[in-house]
Symmetry: C2
Subunit: 344 residues, 2 copies
Amino acid sequence: MLLNDRKYRILEAIINDYIQTAEPIGSRTIAKKYGLGISSATIRNEMSDLEDMGFILQPHTSAGRVPSDKGYRLYVDSMMRQRPLTEEETLFLQRMMINNFNQIEYMMQETAKAVALLTNYPAFVSEPYIKKTKIRHVQFVPLDEKSVLLVLVTDAKAVKNQTVSLPNAPDFETLTKLSRVLNQNLEGQTVHDITRETVDALFSQFGKHAYMVMPVLGVIADLIQAEDDVRIITSGVKNILAFPEFSDISKAKAIFQALEEREMLITILGQEQSERIQIIIGEENNLEPLRGCSIIKANYSFDNQSTGCIGVIGPTRMDYAQAVSVLEGILINITAVIEALSGG
Amino acid sequence: MLLNDRKYRILEAIINDYIQTAEPIGSRTIAKKYGLGISSATIRNEMSDLEDMGFILQPHTSAGRVPSDKGYRLYVDSMMRQRPLTEEETLFLQRMMINNFNQIEYMMQETAKAVALLTNYPAFVSEPYIKKTKIRHVQFVPLDEKSVLLVLVTDAKAVKNQTVSLPNAPDFETLTKLSRVLNQNLEGQTVHDITRETVDALFSQFGKHAYMVMPVLGVIADLIQAEDDVRIITSGVKNILAFPEFSDISKAKAIFQALEEREMLITILGQEQSERIQIIIGEENNLEPLRGCSIIKANYSFDNQSTGCIGVIGPTRMDYAQAVSVLEGILINITAVIEALSGG
DNA sequence: GTTAGCACTCATATTAATTGAGTGCTAACG
DNA sequence: CGTTAGCACTCAATTAATATGAGTGCTAAC
């Protein structure tokens, strides 16, 4: 059952208006505000049809109409108009990314902040996820008599470091040698690649420093383990307070609660990653605490191997066009920056 | 004008009750709930006196009484009873600190989280602050053909790293040599200590890799600069939503706003650091957006050189005893952990 | 000095009345 | 036949009127 042009335009007016005002909208208002050239009575008839079709609904008999999830779905699928980012916005994003390109954690943090700022919705970003992180380089850095810093660079160029406590730490020269030994044996491997033979080799090549082998391998395993966990960062959660939908403190609290729970976020992010940008409207997500919220997420990938996603969450009445535009802009710019920096 | 025992006990009852219920309390309730052995009429007379003295006040003529800032001041200065942390709480804190001792940033983050969790108030932690960070160790770590990772360890054992982009990066051997050169020239210095002579020396000792000197020094300067900035981390800001004082969304929003502004936080933290634990009640702080809030902060120091503070913020009616207990516990445990790890 | 008793105050809760945005239906119109 | 004017009807939200009750201060008696 297709919508005729008039119904289509009326629905469009209702949704646009509701996204802006959060108030149910009536026939008379539509007639006055959106010059469609028909009377309010006609609009009433059409609205009655739209309601039967399930695109809009009435909070109560004497109120105006409000878009339903199905209505929003139609909207995002076929009537929403995206706008490209302004030059300013693009510049802002690019500058941020270039500044933080080498520190993946800051980059995520800053990206989340940027998205929250540009959309005015709470934003979340999941770190690039690689199934099996490989060791690209390990190196000791002297710290003091009883500890050595171990720096680990992964194949995704993430840099991690952790102190290894030892009864007494070797000097700079020795550490340099040991660093070389470590690299010769471990470079290019995942934690699971490390065999008994490798460990044996390390023990013998470390010579009188063999006592270091196990602590060091432990730290490496920990660091990679931590790297293999998906990290999720949120920003601007307080933005939710600006929407009348959450003027009831208990609802606001529920959102805060939800966005603080890792499990919840992972569930959100986990859903299929096929599309470039995915929109989950209202009841389409089946997480109890997030009923009445919509989620927009953009899946990005990195070197064709690590993937992650960036998204925002808001009331079902959120400004989809705006949010999608920003996320789209981020995707484009991430790609651009990565290419410029790694390709150039 | 000293309070007699009876007035003292009545005031105590009022404050304790108000901290718990957030409702003005009347004479009859005090008589019934807190068996002081006197009638409500007597209590009324005493309360009238207490009001004249400025310890309590009446929101309106026919309401009960509420403690004034002056009342709270008396309370925290002389009638509040601290309780030691439970064994569980202590264990929780110590475990957290030991786990994160070597990664100062995580440690701060986790400390803030812990304080927020134990007190149920928003918490903030400022990073240990050293006026002039000294270079303890610098080292190159190979990354790829066009970049080298620079790892910097400061005298506070903070580890920082940043990629240096170069037209073509030297190999491992060379980097090791250059690392040594760098250390010989820079160890123990602050950024301001670096003289023209030092730079000249680097240029000549770097030989054909002299082109690296300026980029490297730039990165070092940046890292130390960033380190010299005070960082402040907050956690559990949403806890504020649990208090009826902030059930008005706009007030909650103001707090969120305030705690997101670095400047504001620095002002809070900046105030005199003489006392071990400092309590700022209501109007005693003169930051407009935080009117009606109290702040409790604990100043810690680290190796007698770096200092910072940990605090919570809440309604003036906050549970001072509880919050002070937790902060006191943290101070004790920080010291204990530091001594155990560095001394042992 | 303490307390019972009473008149008084005033925020809050309750109820009632009013308003007005919005609907659906019907009948007339081009 | 599709469109529209008109009208009766609905119901959340606003306003006004009223009642309630927790609390006070004061006075007079114990």
